[in-house]
Symmetry: C2
Subunit: 360 residues, 2 copies
């Protein structure tokens, strides 16, 4: 039986020729998992036209052998880059692609020294990222489950919010629930940001207690069977003022406009512009201080980026977050985020928690 | 009142002249926190001889202004590297140091393009890492608290281990406890590895249930007030065989030998050799597949590395883990880990959970 991993390697190998490469170095854990099933945290994968080799250290070699099939496993003897370079030299790989945005200056220098004069190192980004962006049916099925789990956890979180509870206690309860429900963990550090702190889009949970009439931004995601979800809702403790209500409606409308704009063939920049345009019409765009969304899959941030001016075109199989927000320093912030899958001719919103302002 | 951050910047600035640099680029979040107090997740810090500038995106500028003092905050307009390069050009910085192990090939290319012809980029590693390695009294006080919290959580974890419980449930309970007790989160994904899986030094917790007569490796750490702890204990569910008992005694003896070797003036390689020598005497060194330890502080892995052949000399203020292990594929693994601080003339073990084999 062919695993999906072997099939993915074959597709990648078929691209090497057109890219004029004899091999590709892959240093991102999510990418080597995608191509081999190896879930260790350290190492490197070299895919050549005829094979694949994982170089890793003694902590992970047994695991790599157990998790992979059709992949040679080499235990590194010294520094990883030196072992990879020696492999390139000994197998006579002539033109090896690497991702210049993933490799440090010192790693490239070490690779060059160890691989000898015959090998050439060629900056070649995006090959695996492009494949990973187009999720297959099995991947989409996993992402639906990860999204559904995030919905369940969000539902539970909304029940425990009340004045006097600390942000940290809520975050702890959220991450406990995730694991109880089968997640291997949170996809990122859960954000519970209340009051003025909600105006920081990436605030961490602190010992601060929730107070009446405060905004609370809850941003959470799970990793389930290797795939991530990511959802945000904004809650008002007690009753919202007219101003807060208006802001929330604007964010909700901006999000909906962006979700409507998500379709195969649209540019990511057009999706971003849809959200930004709605906020601009209400003179709130200066408070939308980040991009509209990001790709989601084996990593919580991956291609494609849904940001201003991005020319990348959405394709079937892409999954992106859509998460506009409005942040007013000294007052608070509002963000609504959902996970959206692009299909041929349709769009599917994976997360389903209601999007209206939640007053508790 | 001078903050510790301003003092640290002053020490760094005083080193720039000797290193023939006009400025240093700092891209590691733990390092910019160390020098400024800024706890945001994206950005860069440029420390010149006369000042300091944080470049960050719209999500973090308000936070950066609130958390820092005496630091200029610039909101990036496009890519971070471009904004940093433009800053270098506009302020006429001539020789800017960067850490080649922290900067990607593409980032360096973008920095060079944006900073213009006058600026030179000089590989210059270890300046901030060296300062961070020598913890001051306030940092050591925080690390004692982080270690004590890890001890409390370990104590709790040992109470909930029993046959039939899933690894994931134990990990969830451990991380829940951490936050309940005030940690901002785990310092790394908690490891609960039972049975044959304990032979993988970095196994993640899975849905596997504990069974009788299995080894269980528990490896956990907290982040408390920005500082990390890291502790491992190995448990046997029910009664250990003579062989397991002997292995555990060997690891315990190896750990003790390494802790004894930790002192100001000793090389890290000598500490590693002390552990390895004890295991070699019992013919177990081939099963000790990783290095003896690592520096600990704002990050869970930082300088100095306690590994084979490392010539770096331990200094007062260093805090390192000492964590030898023995891993036998198909059988299981044993690891014991504690956090050790180096003082002038003495050594302090920060984690205090008893080190004997735990049978439950």
């Amino acid at each position: 039986m062919k695993t999906p991993f072997a099939l993915r390697r074959r597709i990648l190998q078929s691209q090497l020729g057109a890219a004029n490469l004899t091999a590709l170095l892959i240093t991102r854990p999510a990418s080597w998992y995608y191509l081999t099933g190896f879930s260790g945290e350290a190492g490197a994968l070299v895919v050549s036209r005829s094979g694949a080799v994982i170089v890793t250290d003694g902590r992970f070699t047994a695991q790599a052998r157990q998790e992979t099939s059709g992949v040679r496993i080499i235990q590194q003897t010294g520094a990883l880059a030196v072992s990879v370079g020696q492999l390139v030299r000994s197998t006579g790989l002539a033109r090896v692609g690497f991702d210049a945005s993933q490799i440090t200056v010192s790693t490239l220098a070490a690779l060059r020294r160890a691989s000898g004069k015959r090998a050439r190192w060629i900056a070649a980004a995006g090959h695996v990222e492009g494949l990973r962006g187009r999720k297959d049916a099995a991947e989409l099925a996993r992402m639906r489950k990860a999204a559904a789990l995030a919905d369940r956890v969000m539902g539970h979180a909304l029940k425990i919010l009340k004045p006097g509870v600390r942000e940290l206690e809520i975050a702890a309860e959220i991450e406990f629930q995730m694991r109880q429900l089968g997640a291997s963990g949170p996809a990122f550090e859960t954000i519970v940001a209340s009051g003025e702190r909600s105006a920081y889009p990436h605030a961490r949970a602190t010992a601060k207690r929730l107070r009446k009439n405060e905004l609370v931004v809850l941003d959470l995601g799970v990793i389930l069977a290797h795939y991530c979800s990511d959802i945000t809702r904004t809650v008002l403790v007690e009753r919202a003022s007219q101003k807060i209500r208006k802001w929330h409606q604007a964010v909700q409308a901006a999000q909906w406009a962006a979700i409507e704009a998500v379709k195969a063939g649209a540019t990511c920049g057009a999706v971003d512009a849809a959200a930004r345009g709605v906020l601009a019409a209400q003179d709130l765009d200066q408070h939308f201080v980040h991009s509209t969304g990001h790709g989601l899959g084996l990593e919580v941030h991956e291609d494609p980026r849904v940001a201003k001016g991005q020319k990348q075109i959405l394709e079937p199989g892409n999954v992106v977050t859509i998460e506009p927000g409005v942040y007013v320093p000294g007052v608070g912030g509002i963000r609504i985020e959902d996970d959206v899958a692009v299909h041929e001719g349709s769009t599917e919103v994976l997360t389903r928690t209601p999007r209206d302002l939640i007053e508790i």
